[in-house]
Amino acid sequence: MMQIRKAYGEALVRFAEDYDYYVMDADVANATMSCIFRDAYPDRFIDMGIAEDNMFGYAAGISLCGMPVFASAFAPFSAGRAYDQIRNSIMYPGCNVKVVVTHGGIQAGMDGGSHQCVEDIALMRAIPKSVVLCPADERETFACVKAAIEHQGPVVLRIGRSDGGTLHDSDVDVKIGRGFLLRDGADVAVIAAGTVVNAALQAAKTLAAQGIDVAVVSMTSLKPLDEELVLACAEKTNCIVTFEDHNVIGGLGGAVCELLSEKRPTPVTRHGVMDRFGCSGTEAELAVKFGLDEAGITGAILKAYRNKKR
């Protein structure tokens, strides 16, 4: 078990001999963990200082010379502050830049609401043709970095701060447009993304003892969404709960509702940050406060389940 951000830094090093790329950061290498790559490959690392807009522009320029780039910064200052640069300098021309959005959701913890971007997925997902990946544990993180390298073009990686538990027993292969069905179930399907997936899995195990059969999906590919998997879950359970450390507007919950409303109308409960700013606190305190822990998702599942029976 390893923090997702640490897995990100380790992954950059793991693939560095087989693939050529640069890594950039905006003075937060020690927090995004791109420092692991910096220390191993200093010649391929560029620290741009505290200027995220400039960093993403430089990343575009380097990629236009043929060199892929991973560029990381906290979610509010990458997806948020540098939105225009990501959109116009990187996505519009289709530059081979991997936009690494870290500390998304309330995971910036003690730093408070200014540092807790709960709308980064919504922003990145709405850009035409964007690809948005969100790993839920260490193994998915390694696989997402590899998938991003092998994809010719921009990819957004939403990298959590904390560890996501152990969801997979062995190495996995992430495919753009595919999620993972971690646990099958007939009563309710939880479609989750990122570090909260583990809480959903624990909740499903607890609820199984009460006779409620809950499926859990790690939707590693937020865009393109794994439509086949979502539709299969809807078909089987007729009861969907989405779960994310992100505003319930515009993120995974929004994506699932957009799909189901058109292709298979199904009741969906969106569980996540309920359209509010974050606040200071330890990660554990905030998980409780915002309902992103096991108790929070259990409550959401039970509510959806009871409504279904009615």
Binding site: I46, G57, G61, L64
Partner: protein
């Protein structure tokens, strides 16, 4: 390409002005003022100072141009067409839905266009990235960045300048098309960028001031000097005239987005022809 004489480059500048006005007439909208002011800068670059190959527009070792003031692209398109990157006839498709010549340049669509631009200030950073990569990989290409003066009110321009100085990007040459007008008025009145040379000096650039940026000889001399810089990036302040070459538009605030009607086009072309005839005598 055989080197053109100064007289030939002046004639080319006139052709480019006619080309871009004709393209804007066919488009029915666009930005003539800032396009006309940048003509000599672009003709100097593509017909004298830059190492490019129209037969191989993505040549790895070519010099690169980031035309950051993307709204003035009719000038860039006309110069690229005259230089042989694509057919002159294509200019008439400017701003049409399926045209390669969009309202602001799109990378990958137009042979010879090295990056997207349009969202102001972003080209400064993109050019920095290209130059930094060239330095790190010991390539000998140069990167040119043409900035607008109104554009220089964007904070990103100064973040880019700080980093170019920091990295010592001696392969980067930033050229300011300083026509001193922006949409709402005079640059000095709306949001002054002056003194601009002092700012670049403070960011560790070598600087050159060109008193008439619509005099192609002066522009060429400045760029040739900048190419020789060994340790630092170079900033060239080109004092230009917005709407240059068309009396109806010259130094007029509303030349920025003025629609080129048939009447304006004919009047402008006649004026350019007369001026050229006068110069030749």
């Amino acid at each position: 390409m055989e080197e053109k004489s100064i007289a030939e480059l002046k004639a080319m500048s006139t052709r480019v002005r006619k080309d871009l006005l004709d393209a804007l007439y066919h488009a029915g909208s666009g930005h003539p003022g800032g396009a006309l002011s940048s003509v000599e800068i672009l003709v100097a670059l593509y017909f004298r100072c830059m190492r490019v190959d129209p037969e191989n527009p993505t040549w790895e070792d070519r010099d690169r141009l980031v035309f950051s003031k993307g709204h003035a692209c009719p000038a860039l398109y006309a110069v690229l067409a005259e230089r042989g990157f694509f057919d002159l006839e294509v200019l008439k498709t400017l701003r049409k839905p399926d045209s390669i010549l969009q309202g602001h340049p799109v990378w990958g669509k137009v042979p010879g266009v090295d990056t997207c631009s349009g969202s102001l200030g972003q080209g400064a950073s993109i050019a920095g990235g290209m130059a930094l990569y060239g330095k790190k990989r010991h390539r000998d290409y140069k990167v040119f960045c043409v900035l607008g003066d109104g554009e220089s009110e964007e904070g990103q321009v100064w973040a880019a300048a700080m980093s170019a100085g920091h990295f010592g990007l001696n392969n980067l040459i930033v050229i300011l098309d300083n026509n001193d007008l922006q949409i709402d008025g005079r640059v000095r009145d709306i949001m002054s960028i002056y003194p601009v040379i002092d700012k670049y000096r403070a960011f560790n650039f070598d600087t050159i001031e060109v008193s008439d940026g619509n005099d192609i000889e002066q522009v060429i001399d400045a760029i040739e000097l900048a190419r020789k810089s060994t340790g630092r990036p170079t900033f060239i302040q080109c004092h230009t005239v917005k709407g240059k070459g068309v009396p109806l538009l010259e130094n007029k605030v509303d030349s920025h987005g003025r629609t080129i009607t048939k009447e304006i086009l004919e009047q402008a072309v006649a004026g350019l022809d007369a001026a050229e005839g006068g110069a030749a005598e």
